[in-house]
């Protein structure tokens, strides 16, 4: 099989799984609904509970799960390759804690920034992510030799700790009920309740994915080292900037939509590498699609296992993903 054909076959297979999951997931939930009734346009909207459960509760939730999962998994692949560090995650560079700090401040201060049907929290979260991206980028590019991955990593990790401390400070100073809400936000929540937050996050995600599309070959060369990549004609600094900005933008948008859902950004890339090898032309699209399907499945579990109670999705991703990853790791080694 030629390389091109192999890539296409694998990506099509992953895409088929992801699409199947996204189509199937809204049909199941804690309530049993009639799909024929849900799609029956002769019933007035106000009277059609099935349609509302399908279109208002489940569909936006499944879509945001797919988007968040895809963005975090892709960002994980890009950052691990760019930093040549298998432990890098979308949260390593401080973007997520910047987003979390923004959300905490919006909750604790009761900010009212809501616009276009999007509430304050996601807006403040995205603004926080942008601040973090700006600081890390400024620190890393102030080096003489362009963007230094070491500085990037150290600055990111330090900023992460610094922002985490600020998050704890805000929580500590907040009113008790607000403090509880901030803790809950940190566990991740995909019940967005409308399409507005998805539409608001979409332009940034599309921009990030457009950048991801030109990265795979560059990432393959970058993983071999900056000198090798440069010798093969890669404009290293430009490629690193593109990788950093795309991954950060995707992470910021994903966190503003669903909160900082852990585990996906670190484990899905490795999981997919164990399945399909390490060529980024396969890994990047496959991880993106797998991240989407995996997150939707985890959220489906979160909303049904204990229904009508629900589990925070961040807990489910780690509970389901952890043992699965360890099993695959042991089996492969």
């Amino acid at each position: 099989m030629t390389i091109r054909r192999r890539i296409v076959t694998i990506v099509v297979a992953f895409a088929a799984v992801a699409v199947a999951v996204v189509i199937w997931a809204p049909t199941v939930g804690s309530t049993s609904i009639s799909l024929s009734r849900a799609f029956d346009s002769s019933i007035p909207w106000e009277d059609n509970v099935d349609a509302q459960i399908f279109f208002v509760a489940r569909l936006p939730r499944v879509l945001s799960g797919a988007i968040v999962g895809a963005a975090l998994a892709a960002a994980g692949v890009v950052l691990q390759a760019m930093l040549r560090n298998p432990l890098a995650t979308p949260f390593t560079l401080g973007v997520s804690s910047g987003g979390a700090l923004g959300a905490m401040l919006a909750i604790a201060l009761g900010l009212d920034l809501g616009m276009l049907g999007v509430s304050s929290v996601p807006i403040a979260s995205f603004a926080g992510s942008l601040v973090a991206i700006g600081i890390v980028y400024w620190l890393a590019s102030s080096q003489k030799r362009g963007l230094s991955t070491n500085v990037l990593l150290l600055a990111g990790v330090t900023l992460n700790s610094f922002f985490s401390a600020l998050i704890l400070f805000v929580q500590y100073m907040a009113d008790f009920t607000e403090s509880f809400r901030t803790v809950r936000w940190l566990m991740g929540d995909l019940d967005v309740g409308s399409y507005s937050p998805i539409l608001a996050a979409l332009p940034f995600l599309l921009a990030a994915f457009a950048m991801f599309a030109v990265l795979p070959r560059t990432l393959n060369l970058l993983t071999m080292g900056e000198d090798v990549a440069a010798a093969r004609g890669v404009e290293v600094i430009r490629a690193q900037r593109l990788a950093f900005l795309s991954a950060s933008l995707a992470t910021g948008a994903a966190v503003s939509l669903g909160g900082p859902i852990g585990f996906i950004g670190i484990v899905v890339p490795h999981l997919v590498r164990l399945m399909v090898g390490s060529d980024h032309r396969v890994v990047l699209p496959a991880a993106t699609l797998f991240g989407a399907a995996f997150t939707v499945i985890c959220d489906l579990a979160a909303r049904t296992i204990m229904a009508p109670l629900e589990l925070p999705v961040g807990i489910v991703t780690a509970l389901i993903g952890g043992p699965f990853f360890l099993w695959l790791l042991v089996k492969k080694s």
Binding site: V49, V56, D175, G193
Partner: protein, 300 residues
């Protein structure tokens, strides 16, 4: 004979005198001594770390005995002048001890604080809020502990009478399926926390004549997803808002988030009602006010 009679008379007088002394002792000295003892054992320097119990103390006339309160206390207004000694998660032990309290009121989960108080030989009164009955029993127990039994009993009786009046007013009326929300992300249907089938909020709703849509959930609270809210289709949504927003029907902006749930009868019939004010979620003596307001909203 005469001598014997005199002797008898003297014996009788002595007997009467003894009886008189006993009667006097029983009727004056015993109450006086026990009053003095009670006054001495009645705590004079109370530190309260639970806002609901601070309110109870003031309601039963023990306010002058309170010397410090938690960081979250704001009612009655007098407490704002008192020193603050931290709260549930961050009690300032050193400050508490330095105030030389003879009673510290702690919340159930403050195990470490109680151990420290025990080491410092400072008595504590432990509290954990559960259902409505527990709140009223706690109030009585607190009255007994602080030397205000009668006032506490009277305050509890007054609350019970008001609750009974609400019960009587709504008896026989149809109980609407009600969703009781106590926390939500502003301007969005996210992070919605509602009352389950247990605890004082549920009890308050039941007395006010509502049928809790999550009455079957054996928990004090739960996070309700959009799907579950649509499926349970409440006829009335009561939103308890501790922030001071206008009472009654919410503004268009606030209602806009609920309007996404178009099939929910409460939304359709515009029966989304806000009950606002700092007291609405405090499990203290002012809960009767909230119950009355809930009843008025449910059965106008």
């Amino acid at each position: 004979m005469t001598i014997r009679t005199t002797m008898d008379a003297e014996t009788t007088i002595t007997k009467h005198a003894k009886l008189l002394v006993v009667v006097l002792f029983v009727s004056f000295v015993v109450p006086f001594v026990s009053f003095v003892v009670a006054l001495q054992s009645r705590p004079q320097r109370i530190v309260s770390l639970v806002p609901a119990l601070t309110e109870m103390l003031y309601a039963m006339g023990a306010g002058p005995q309170v010397v410090a309160v938690s960081s979250y206390d704001e009612y009655p207004p007098e407490v704002t002048k008192l020193p603050r000694v931290g709260a549930l998660l961050d009690p300032d032990t050193e400050r508490i001890i330095s105030l030389e309290p003879d009673l510290v009121i702690t919340y159930g989960s403050q195990v470490d604080l109680r151990a420290q108080m025990k080491r410092a030989a400072i008595p504590t009164f432990d509290y954990r809020h559960a259902d409505l009955r527990d709140i009223l029993l706690t109030m009585k127990a607190l009255g007994a502990r602080t030397g205000h039994s009668a006032e506490a009993d009277r305050a509890v009786a007054a609350i019970e009478a008001r609750l009974a009046a609400v019960r009587a007013r709504v008896a026989g009326t149809r109980r609407p399926k009600t969703l009781l929300v106590f926390s939500r992300e502003p301007r969005a249907l996210r992070n919605i926390y509602v009352s389950g089938g247990r605890g004082f909020l549920h009890d308050m709703l039941e007395i006010a004549g509502g049928d809790d849509v999550f009455g079957d959930i054996d928990r004090e609270s739960m996070q309700a997803s959009t799907e579950v809210l649509l499926a349970r289709a409440p006829e009335v949504i009561l939103e308890l808002r501790p922030d001071d927003i206008p009472e009654g029907t919410p503004t268009q902006a606030e209602l806009a988030s609920w309007s996404r749930l178009a099939s929910v009868p409460a939304v359709r019939n515009r029966r989304v009602i806000f009950i606002s004010g700092r007291a609405v979620t405090v499990p203290g003596p002012r809960l009767a006010d909230t119950v009355e307001r809930m009843a008025l909203a449910l059965h106008p």
